[in-house]
Amino acid sequence: MSDVNVSGTSLASGPRQAERRNTLRWGFTLLLPLVIVAMELAVSLVEPRVLSPRNVVNILVQSSYLLLFASAQMVVILTGGFDLSLGMAVSAISVATALVTTGLAAAGTPMWLVVLAGIAVGLGFGLLVGLFNGLFVSWLGINPFVVTLGSLNICYGLATTISGGRPVFNVPDAFSRLLYDGNFIPEIPIPITLAAVVALLLYLLLDHTVFGRSLYLIGNNPRAAHLAGLPSKRYLTLAYILCALLAAFGSLMLTARTGSGEPNLGGSLMLESIAAAVIGGVSLQGGIGGIVPVILGTLFVTMLSNAMDLLEVGGYVQQILLGCVIIGAIFLDRIRVTRT
C-alpha cells in the first residue's frame, strides 16, 4: 500500500541511506538465527535438558518432517499461491499407503514389492492431487484458495472414507525400516538424512535451473513471465505437482514412523507448514523465498514447541503463543520488505 512512497524515498536516497538499508538487511538476515540461539540459551538456563544431545537429535528429527511440508508449501507460495489441501492430502496419502502395504503383506507378496508398491501409491496419489490443483489454478485461472479448499474437502472425504475413519495399523516393518528406523549413514537417523537430501535437491532446483528461477518470476510478475515467453501455465502446474509430491514423501515418512495410516495425521499441518515458511521469510505475495529461510522457519517453530513442551506449557497456551509469534513474525517481515 505504501510501496509508492517507499520507492520514492529510495530514489532520492544518498549513500548513507543505502548503507543504513544494507545494515538493516544484514540485521534481518541474522535476526532469526540469533533469535533461535537466544531462545535455546534462555530456555537452557531454566531447563538444561534442552541442549542435551538426545533432545537436539529429537528436534532435528521433528523438524525434518516439517521441513518437507514447509518447503512443499514454499514452492507454491513462491508462485503467489498456497496449498490449503496439504494437510488433508498427507492424511489421505498415509491411509492409502497403509491400506495398500498391509493388504499386500497379508496376501504374502514379497517385502520389496510391498514397500515399492506403498511408495508408488503414495507418490501417485500426491501426483493426482498436485495435478488437480495445478490444472485448475493454471489452466482455468481459478484462485488457488478456492481450488485447494476444494481439494482439501475431497482429500478429507477420501482419507476418512477409505479407512472408515479409523487408523490402519500394522504397516509392514520393512516399510518403517526403509524410511524411519534404518541408517544410511551410521549414527544419523534416516529422517534427517532424507530431509537434508531433499533440501539440497530443492536448493539446486530453485537456484540453478530455468524452472526454479521461473517460479520466482511467475510470483513476482506473472505478466512479465508470460511476455518473456516462459511456459507459465506448465511451470505453475509443475509447481503444484512438486508441492504435492513433497507432501506425499513427507506423508510416507510419517507413516513409516507411526507404523500406521492415520486419517488425522495432517490436521494441523496445513497451517504449520504455511507458518513455518512465512516465519522464515517466504513472502505470501510471491517471488521471495528459498530453502534457507524455510529451514530457519522450520527450526524456529519446532524448537519453540519443543521448548514449551519441556517447560510444561499447556497445549492451549502454546496455541495462543504460536498465534502471537505468527503475527509478530509477519510484522517484522513487513518492515523488512518495506525498509530494505
Binding site: M1, N143, L149, G150, Q319
Partner: protein, 339 residues
C-alpha cells in the same frame, strides 16, 4: 453490478430480457431453483415442513457468518478467524451467563443481556485486532487472521478446558435459540434482518460505496479522499461481530457454550461467498447472492443427509461443487468478456 449500471435501454425481445436478468443475477438462482425442484421430485421428505424448517435454521447461521466474510473479501482481505470468534463468543457468553445465574436469579433478562454483550465484545476485540494489524501494520490478512484464529481458539479452550459450559437461562435457549416465531425459527428472522440491513448498506450508503471502492483500488480510493484505514478496520470489526451474532444464536440453539462448535464454519463461509461470485481479489460481492450461496450449500448438505450419504463422502461432493461453481463462473465471465 454490470446489469444495474447499463439499465438505460429497455430490452426488446423476451429472450434478451431473460439473458439480461441472467447476466445481472448470475447462475446461482437458476442452479438453486433447479436443485430444489429436482430434490423435491426425487427425495420424498425434502418438502416436509420439518425439513424446510431445518434447512432455514441451519442456513441462518451460515448466512450471517458468510455476510461478514463477504465484507472482508470485498475490501480485498480474508478472515480465517471467524470460527475462532464463534467459539470464543459461545464460551464467554455462556460463562458470563452461568456466572451470573445465582446473583441475578430474579432477572433472567439482565443475565441474557450481559451474556450477549460479553459475546459481542469478544467479536469486537478480535475484529479490532485484525483490522488494526491489516490497516496500520499492513500485515497480510491471511496471516493476521491465521494468528488470531490460533489465539482465539487457544483462549476458548483455555477458558473451558474443552468442557461444555452449561447453566444458561431457559428463556435464552427456548425463546431465542430453539424458538419459533410465526411458525419460523427465530435465527431465520435474525439472518433476514442482517441481510436486509447489509443490502441497504451496500446499495444506499456511503459506507457501502467506500467499501467497494477500497476493494476495487485502494490507492484510487485513498486519493479520492476515502478514509480507507477507518473503513478497513470497520469491515473487519463488522465481520467478527457478525460471527459473534451467529455464535450467540448457535450457543442458544445448542444450549451450552462450546469451544469446538463447527470447525468447518470458516471454510464454509468462504465457500458460500465465493460460490456467490464474491471475488477473492476484492471489489465485488453482493449480500443477497451470498445468502443464496449459503442456502445452496446447506440445501445440498440437507439433501445428501436425506439420501443417507455418509457425511465424509459429502465433503468430497462439496469440494467438487465449490471448485466447479467457481470454474463455471469464471467461464461465463470470460465468455462475456469475449462478447
Amino acid at each position: 453490478m454490470a446489469g444495474d449500471s447499463t439499465g438505460g435501454a429497455l430490452p426488446t425481445s423476451p429472450f434478451e430480457r431473460i439473458s439480461r436478468s441472467y447476466n445481472a443475477a448470475g447462475f446461482l438462482p437458476v442452479l438453486l431453483t433447479v436443485l430444489v425442484i429436482a430434490f423435491a421430485i426425487f427425495i420424498p421428505n425434502f418438502l416436509a415442513v420439518q425439513n424446510i424448517l431445518n434447512v432455514l435454521r441451519s442456513s441462518s447461521y451460515l448466512v450471517i457468518v458468510a455476510a461478514g466474510q463477504m465484507l472482508v473479501l470485498i475490501v480485498g482481505g480474508f478472515d480465517l478467524s471467524q470460527g475462532a470468534v464463534v467459539a470464543l463468543t459461545s464460551v464467554s457468553s455462556a460463562l458470563v451467563m452461568a456466572g451470573l445465574k445465582d446473583t441475578l436469579a430474579a432477572e433472567p433478562g439482565l443475565i441474557i443481556l450481559a451474556g450477549i454483550l460479553a459475546g459481542l465484545a469478544c467479536g469486537a476485540v478480535v475484529g479490532l485486532v485484525n483490522g488494526v494489524c491489516v490497516a496500520f501494520l499492513r500485515i497480510s490478512p491471511f496471516m493476521v487472521t491465521l494468528g488470531t484464529m490460533s489465539i482465539g481458539t487457544g483462549f476458548a479452550l483455555l477458558l473451558t478446558s474443552g468442557i461444555p459450559v452449561y447453566g444458561m437461562p431457559k428463556s435464552f435457549v427456548d425463546g431465542f435459540g430453539r424458538g419459533l416465531w410465526l411458525q419460523l425459527p427465530v435465527p431465520f428472522y435474525l439472518a433476514a434482518a442482517i441481510v436486509a440491513v447489509m443490502w441497504l448498506m451496500q446499495n444506499y450508503t456511503r459506507m457501502g460505496r467506500y467499501i467497494f471502492a477500497i476493494g476495487g483500488n485502494i490507492q484510487a480510493a485513498i486519493i479520492s479522499g476515502v478514509p480507507a484505514k477507518t473503513y478497513l478496520i470497520l469491515a473487519y470489526v463488522m465481520c467478527s461481530m457478525l460471527a459473534s451474532i451467529s455464535g450467540l444464536a448457535l450457543t442458544a440453539q445448542i444450549g451450552s457454550g462450546q469451544a469446538v462448535i463447527n470447525p468447518q464454519l470458516t471454510l464454509e463461509s468462504i465457500a458460500a461467498a465465493v460460490i456467490a461470485g464474491v471475488s477473492i481479489k476484492g471489489g465485488v460481492g453482493r449480500v443477497e447472492m451470498v445468502a443464496l450461496g449459503a442456502i445452496l450449500l446447506l440445501t445440498l448438505t440437507d439433501a445428501m443427509d436425506l439420501l443417507k450419504i455418509d457425511p465424509r463422502i459429502q465433503a468430497i461432493f462439496l469440494g467438487i461443487i465449490v471448485v466447479l461453481a467457481v470454474a463455471l463462473d469464471e467461464f461465463s465471465k470470460r465468455r462475456a468478456a469475449l462478447v
